[in-house]
């Protein structure tokens, strides 16, 4: 990967934008086969001391990058703007086309945050959708920049209390489309549950689910609730708050007629997200999916108690992959997230 770099201290947005434009012009003049990516703008607001870690996470996002990434690093006491603009590219071979990505790192101070829109707006590529990711909070900056933003990247697993996380997502979704990384961590599980019940002989069993058990890493309760919320919203379950039943957090009453017992358990695992799901239907059939190497380990127990196991193949994306998937999802629209979010919020312990 090659890079063209410009930097300045005590600069301003117009100068940054002019520098980027010039970098692109010079590179295109040197090699006409290089063209700038034009997919999305990505604004990232971070604490300056963690800038490197966030840059690494973005690096690990694989092939999904902002076409123009604007990283705003907030530094206590700073009153001026310093900036580094970079155009990165791989020289194309033969007749192929090469793609250039642009990134800007702006060091700014807390006093800039209330007017962050006026700093970012001139630096964005107009007419591209703009995605905001603010992993370290900075709600005043998020509020300030809302009018510029089409999509907000959140991670409901980042907030200790899922109820607060869901309230935040519900509030912000009024301003922009929400892509929630906690929701994306449930994607393979949702796909597999959907596939399992897609068989004609199984689709009716969806009406007959009696127990749903979700195992999750301790820090990923929001993901677990979103999965429960998804099933609840898709299957129109009437919800009650989760309560402690026999030491587990559960909704519904065991042995209750027409009740679905939802329970969440924490599990030891390195990767954020879910560890396993078990669905039990009225005739005693149980399907259990458990995270394993090279995919999910599935075990089905039929009503006679006979068990069958198999592997559902799929490589883990890893956390870098989840962030990349979040960036990719910014261009799509998932109509099932919001109902799942509301249902998950309804399940949160009162």
């Amino acid at each position: 990967m090659s890079e063209d770099v410009w930097s300045a201290q005590d600069t301003n947005p117009d100068a940054i934008e002019a520098a980027l434009r010039e970098l692109l012009r010079e590179r295109h003049a040197a090699n006409e086969a290089l063209a700038p990516a034009r997919v999305i703008n990505l604004i990232v607001i971070v604490d300056r001391e963690w800038k490197g870690e966030i840059a690494n996470r973005l690096e690990r996002a694989g092939r999904y990058h902002g076409s123009r990434t604007v990283l705003c690093a907030v530094e206590e006491g700073r009153t001026t703007l310093d900036a580094v603009a970079t155009v990165s590219y791989q020289e194309p071979k033969g007749a192929a086309l090469g793609v250039m990505h642009e990134s800007v790192e702006i060091d700014l101070g807390p006093s800039h945050l209330r007017a962050l829109q006026t700093i970012c707006d001139p630096v964005l590529v107009s007419e591209l959708p703009t995605v905001l990711w603010s992993p370290h909070g900075h709600p005043e900056a998020v509020d300030a920049i809302c009018p510029l933003v089409d999509v907000m990247l959140l991670d409901s697993d980042d907030i200790d209390d899922p109820s607060d996380a869901f309230a935040r997502a519900e509030r912000l979704r009024k301003h922009a489309y929400i892509v929630d990384l906690a929701w994306l961590r449930t994607t393979p599980w949702r796909e597999r549950l959907a596939a399992t019940f897609d068989l004609p002989e199984r689709v009716d069993a969806l009406r007959d689910i009696e127990e749903l058990e979700i195992r999750h890493r301790e820090t990923s309760m929001a993901s677990a609730l979103l999965l429960a919320g998804w099933l609840s919203s898709r299957l129109h379950w009437e919800r009650s708050h989760l309560r402690l039943w026999d030491g587990r957090l559960a909704a519904g009453e065991p042995e209750g007629d027409g009740e679905v017992v939802v329970s969440l358990h924490t599990a030891e695992q390195e990767a954020p997200g879910l560890a396993g799901v078990t669905v039990v239907t009225g005739d005693g059939t149980a399907l259990s999916l458990q995270r394993g190497e090279g995919g999910l380990d599935a075990v089905e127990r039929d009503s006679d108690g006979e068990e069958r196991g198999w592997k559902i193949l799929g490589a883990s994306r890893g956390e870098g992959g989840i962030l990349g998937e979040g960036i990719r999802q910014a261009l799509l629209r998932d109509s099932t997230y919001l109902p799942a979010l509301k249902a998950a919020h309804g399940l949160c312990p009162a």
Binding site: L235, W237, E238, S335
Partner: protein, 515 residues
């Protein structure tokens, strides 16, 4: 929580599917005939691995290879592992690879051997037993086409063409026949054993993103469709140029030639997608009905008309990419006086209300100046030129160019003012390239098509009546060329843009686009 679901007993739709990007695929056993062949190793098996890697295969998925080479199951797995490691578009994850292949089976034998089919039936039943339910079955015939009827018949005789509570499908790859008569025979032979809905005929061009995007651009934009007719379009050029020769495929190519190899299938499919009427819905039969209608509107030439509307040629020695290359007749395995065309160019007309009078020029060839597949839609000149002044190339007809390879994308040429004090106009391009406008890579066509076949979605596959319509257009040309045993076959220098004779197909001052 109360399960007071308003889902009624009549609901058979799966409510969990909504919003998912990847639609469920039912548990499947995939049987690959010709599993030790080149296509299986370079394309199919790596595509299947990539589907597994991305979690797109069905929850239960089993592979059985059938081939003539002697292999034990374990040896077969080793060979497949080697192919995937060599040809996969991503480095394989060892756990996924092991999971994919640890139950893979190999059935050895000749395709005409009844024992192969009884052993296959045993293996399939064992997979069903292990799954506790019948798995859907897909038979992928990655073999020479002469085996298609035999394998289909043997599958039928063994009762493998149907299954209780499971779907059975058969996938075949082009060529679908050698001419109209043989295509009809093949269709009849397949339909004796399988229903048309069970037969998936792959033209891998249809799995390419740009080809599917032809429909998106036409039917998802108000910009193009209003001009998509004889009133605004002057002509269309469809080019499928290759810079390579025939390589080691002389045996195949001597019997096929350029017309059968690319025009009868890929290029006419592109023409159909470009010219068809909008389908009322994007489903397999409605889309294919529209393609069929427009193919039937292409009036085949009479044998006497062929000379005026079709050109064939062979590549002569030349230089490609700075390297001297032999002519076609000097290639290994090619007859010294071979009359097989390595280049074909046609002028076709679509005789319907929308396209009357618009010529469609198709050309394909090997050992041309560069590798390029594109569709260029050339609009008519503007009726009155008020702006043009001297000192520039002036106003030129707008062109909409769909590039299928090497860089998938679309460009639109428009006239723009050259900066300066005078009103001088020259064409500039507005470009859309997948690489700059989308974050994700285009999946391999085979990945998409294998998945669609397992899901039973035939939208991107060719129906029997389409195949016959395609051959119906080409047959008279083949007949005329085959009947002509004496005239000289034009030669073009390898590395050039093709034979001069092809220029004669274009009239009214039109020219082939530069490769």
């Amino acid at each position: 929580m109360s399960a007071t679901s308003p889902l009624s007993a009549a609901d058979t739709e799966n409510p969990l599917v909504e919003g998912l990007e990847r639609l469920p695929v039912h548990p499947t056993s995939l049987v690959i005939f010709g599993a030790t062949g080149d296509l299986a190793h370079r394309k199919l098996l790596p595509a299947i691995y990539n589907l597994a890697h991305e979690g797109q295969l069905p929850e239960r998925f089993e592979v059985i290879g059938v081939g003539r080479r002697t292999h034990e199951d374990e040896e077969f797995r080793d060979t497949v592992t080697d192919s995937i490691e060599r040809f996969s578009r991503r480095r394989p994850d060892p756990n996924v690879l092991e999971g994919l292949l640890n139950e893979a089976r190999y059935v050895q034998g000749s395709f005409d051997d009844d024992n192969v089919y009884s052993e296959l039936a045993r293996e399939l039943e064992e997979f069903d037993r292990s799954a506790g339910r019948p798995l859907d079955r897909v038979f992928y015939l990655s073999t020479a086409p002469e085996f298609f009827p035999m394998i289909a018949a043997k599958l039928g005789a063994a009762g493998l063409n149907r299954a209780d509570r499971a779907s059975v499908r058969i996938v075949i790859e082009k060529p679908f026949g050698y001419d109209l008569a043989s295509a009809r025979t093949l269709n009849a032979q397949l339909l004796e054993v399988f229903e048309e809905q069970q037969i998936f005929r792959i033209d891998h061009y249809l799995g390419k993103e740009t080809v599917q995007n032809l429909m998106a651009l036409r039917f998802a934009n108000a910009l193009f469709e209003p001009v998509w007719n004889r009133n605004y379009i002057d002509h269309v050029q469809i080019t499928a140029a290759e810079d390579i020769g025939i390589g080691g495929r002389a045996g195949y190519y001597e019997h096929s030639g350029a017309l059968r190899d690319l025009v009868q299938n890929h290029m006419l499919q592109l023409l159909a997608l470009l010219t068809m009427e909008p389908p009322t819905a994007f489903d397999a039969d409605r889309l294919r009905d529209e393609k069929l209608k427009v193919l039937e509107a292409i009036v085949p030439p009479s044998v006497d008309e062929v000379e005026a509307m079709a050109v064939r040629a062979q590549y002569a020695p030349g230089v490609v990419g700075g390297v001297e290359v032999p002519g076609y007749r000097e290639e290994d395995g090619v007859a010294r006086y071979s009359r097989t065309p390595t280049y074909a160019a046609l002028r076709l007309h679509v005789s319907n209300w929308r396209w009357a009078g618009v010529p469609f020029y198709l050309r394909t060839g090997k050992r041309l100046a560069r590798k390029l597949t594109e569709i260029a839609v050339v609009l008519k000149q503007i009726p009155h030129v008020a702006l043009q002044s001297s000192g520039s190339v002036g106003i030129q007809a707008n062109q909409i160019v769909f590039t299928v390879q090497p860089d998938e994308g679309v460009s639109v040429s428009i006239g723009a003012k050259i900066p300066g004090t005078r009103m001088r106009i020259r064409p500039v391009n507005m470009e859309f390239r997948y690489g700059t406008s989308f974050l994700s890579e285009s999946p391999e066509a085979y990945e998409r098509l294998i998945l669609d076949a397992m899901r039973g979605d035939a939208t991107l596959f060719t129906r029997n009546d389409e195949i016959e319509a395609l051959w119906g257009i080409i047959d008279p040309i083949l007949e005329a060329w085959d009947a002509d045993k004496t005239s000289t076959i034009p030669q073009y220098e390898a590395g050039s843009a093709g034979p001069r004779e092809a220029n004669a197909l274009l009239d009214d001052g039109r020219m082939w686009r530069r490769l």
